[in-house]
């Protein structure tokens, strides 16, 4: 061990020794290899202590950098979809498709389109056993609706068929409101007498008349009545889709 203590050697390294002491030490270092070795060991030790600190700092910065890079990459990758999320997505797609379909139905539903679908015309049945038709039936069959209307207002041998054909003639002549009034009167009379003749036909043609008159509430109500009775003659003529379309027309009105 040299006579120099560590503090003096450090002062030499830091260049803070007085000039004469520095010169003295340098002179001795030329002769004393142990002193040189000691000084070198001190330099190395000081560097290693600093390096230990830098290593800690670098390590901490690296951990932070890698961690933030990992988070960034994770946020850029599409996350795996869970079962619930998948179901929700499917549900959302279905809702979207339904909404789209509803929009299409909404826009293509028009009074004309619905009337076109329900454009049946009453025809006088021809019975093979019957050789002759009444005059009102003959007129209706020939499309002489004004004559039918006139005849229906006079007493006829078969008054119920005369009333019904009168109502049909009004409908075919475009006198929709009068046709509705006449059909409602026939229905009312039937209820009083317990007569059910033409009951199903009256329901169907009332719907047709209400649609033409754009009275969608009443049209819907009669369609509900028809659909509630599977034995109704016109049960198969109306679907749920028709009810939906009637509601859409009501909304559009």
């Amino acid at each position: 061990m040299s006579e120099y203590n560590l503090e003096k050697l450090e002062a030499y390294l830091l260049n803070s020794l007085p000039t004469n002491e520095r010169a003295e030490m340098e002179a001795e270092m030329k002769e004393n290899s142990e002193l040189r070795e000691e000084l070198e060991a001190l330099k190395l030790t000081r560097q290693a202590i600093k390096m230990d600190g830098w290593k800690r700092t670098v390590s901490q910065v690296q951990d932070e950098f890698l961690s933030s890079r990992k988070s960034e990459r994770a946020s850029k990758q599409p996350r795996p979809i869970g079962a619930t999320q998948l179901l929700l997505r499917i549900a959302a797609s279905v809702v979207l498709v339904l909404a789209g379909s509803a929009m299409v139905v909404y826009f293509i539903t028009t009074p004309e389109a619905l009337a076109e679908k329900h454009n049946l015309t009453y025809s006088v049945p021809v019975m093979r056993t019957t050789d002759t038709l009444s005059s009102i039936e003959e007129a209706y069959r020939n499309g002489e609706f004004e004559r039918v209307i006139a005849l229906s207002q006079t007493p006829q041998p078969d008054q119920p068929i005369a009333d019904f054909l009168g109502a049909m003639a009004l409908l075919e002549s475009g006198k929709v409101d009068s046709a509705i009034t006449r059909m409602l009167e026939i229905q009312s009379g039937n209820r009083e007498t317990g007569n059910s003749r033409f009951a199903d036909e009256l329901d169907y043609f009332l719907v047709k008349a209400y649609l033409q008159a754009q009275n969608y509430d009443q049209a819907g109500s009669v369609v509900h009545k028809i659909r509630a009775d599977s034995g109704h003659t016109y049960y198969r003529n109306f679907t749920r889709s028709d009810l939906l379309k009637i509601k859409i027309l009501k909304l559009k009105k």
Partner: protein
């Protein structure tokens, strides 16, 4: 006033040489150069974990070069970091017995590596041994020496921070710690040759 703006190479070197608030400039080195260095390791038989280990070492060597005034910006930082990285990685591959023929090729083809990097890397081995000796010191000794030589706190500040009864008591303690460490360094066969080599170069 600069906000969220990256420092230039010159500014980075100045900040690192200053030795205070080292984290921000080192973080910038990571942001700007980690990808390039990692790519090199991955392309040359390394894994992502190898890259992380090597790059930490690269940064440490770079900080030392700057701190010792051996690198003052006479080349681009990216060039110096890449040279350190390649040198370290070739050495690492050489150490691994599974070294492939193509790794030998790298060694043959390696470009001229600046002399100061070579010297620093050579010294790095000895420093690593001293760091191990430092790590084996008692907790108080390590704290005092680190606060004094790395944090560059004054004896007064350390005295207050570590609750010593007086500066003289602290001074004596620090002296003993340093003496103990340098004694171990001088008697370490692993670094004896470096000390002698350093003396021969003087």
């Amino acid at each position: 006033m600069k906000l969220n703006q990256e420092l230039t190479d010159e500014e980075l070197i100045r900040k690192i040489a200053d030795g205070k608030a080292m984290s921000p400039p080192i973080a910038q080195l990571y942001r700007q150069h980690y990808g390039m260095l990692e790519h090199y390791i991955l392309k040359n038989s390394g894994t992502a974990a190898d890259a992380a280990d090597q790059i930490q070492e690269v940064m440490l060597v770079f900080v030392q070069l700057v701190s010792a005034g051996k690198f003052r910006g006479d080349a681009k930082i990216s060039t110096v970091l890449f040279s350190i990285c390649r040198n370290l990685w070739i050495t690492e591959l050489r150490k691994r017995k599974s070294t492939l023929i193509r790794n030998e090729k790298y060694m043959e083809e390696q470009e001229h590596i600046t002399r100061y990097i070579d010297e620093q890397l050579e010294q790095q081995e000895s420093l690593r041994v001293v760091m191990e000796l430092f790590a084996s010191l008692g907790k108080t000794c390590k704290t005092i020496l680190s606060l004094f030589y790395y944090e560059e706190l004054s004896m007064k500040e350390i005295c207050k921070k570590l609750d010593f009864s007086s500066e003289q008591v602290l001074r004596n303690k620090k002296y003993k710690c340093l003496q103990n460490l340098t004694g171990q360094v001088r008697s370490s066969p692993a670094i004896k040759h470096l000390l002698l080599k350093a003396l021969r170069h003087e």
